[in-house]
Symmetry: C2
Subunit: 145 residues, 2 copies
């Protein structure tokens, strides 16, 4: 099970697209979300190949959601970015066991993993965009760290 920043960037970008309601360029999305443009471009490519968004090259081009925002689950996005088996494996990063039921931890982890995946499958982009609005999104000011 791999939840990396790549997946997070992808979800943020798609959520931004959903909130805008129309197409936007990768550069627009990246600067708006404070993500490296070149890096987001690669993720966009993966999402396009997975059929989650459509791309239009050339002047005036950009990217747009290929499906309505309530039809795209977080699970689908993560699988598009990390690979189809990313959510089937052991919760630990880089784990070599790949969800082997012979692992002594399997009986403990698998129910937890299943619950997480269920949550990701049931949560769609529209829901994320909707819940994010009341936050007033002042991300830049809080980026103190």
């Amino acid at each position: 099970m791999r939840l990396t920043v790549s997946s997070k960037y992808a979800i943020l970008a798609l959520e931004e697209l959903a909130r805008r309601g129309g197409p936007a360029s990768v550069h627009e999305l990246a600067t708006s979300l404070d993500i490296p443009t070149a890096y987001l471009a690669k993720l966009v490519s993966l999402l396009a190949r997975a059929g989650i968004l459509t791309t239009q090259r050339g002047r005036g081009g950009g990217v747009a959601l290929a499906q309505p925002a309530d039809a795209i689950s977080l699970k689908a996005v993560i699988e598009a970015i990390e690979g189809p088996s990313a959510l089937q494996d052991c919760p630990f990063e880089l784990s070599p066991c790949a969800g082997d039921p012979g692992c002594p931890l399997y009986p403990v982890w698998d129910p937890l993993r299943a619950r997480i995946v269920e949550f990701l499958a049931q949560t769609c982009l529209a829901e994320v965009a909707q819940r994010a609005i009341p936050q007033r999104r002042e991300r830049n000011e809080r980026n103190v760290e």
Copy 2:
């Protein structure tokens, strides 16, 4: 939120210790679990500093649980290995937001994160060791990939 192989190795080693009921050397544990000895030794050092296990240097030495197996939660182990804030951050690896409530994904992720942490806090080593037994543990044979 960081769940890496390091945490997994630590839990596996502690579970093995719990199942044996007595002390063992790091080398014994590592070979029994098919984990690099030198690497496990470093994790053991972290666990000892966190008060989860005790170490005894010199001939006939080894490591032993510092507390009964039902008093050590997976949460405590993970925090000892990954750092105290590892379970407070955003679920995505290396995420720079560090659980910033201003993130548009926060309202969606935080309840999930809280449920995972609750699970980790309530699950103890004794429970892991107990549930693992019925599996008959034939890990070596299934390591086909």
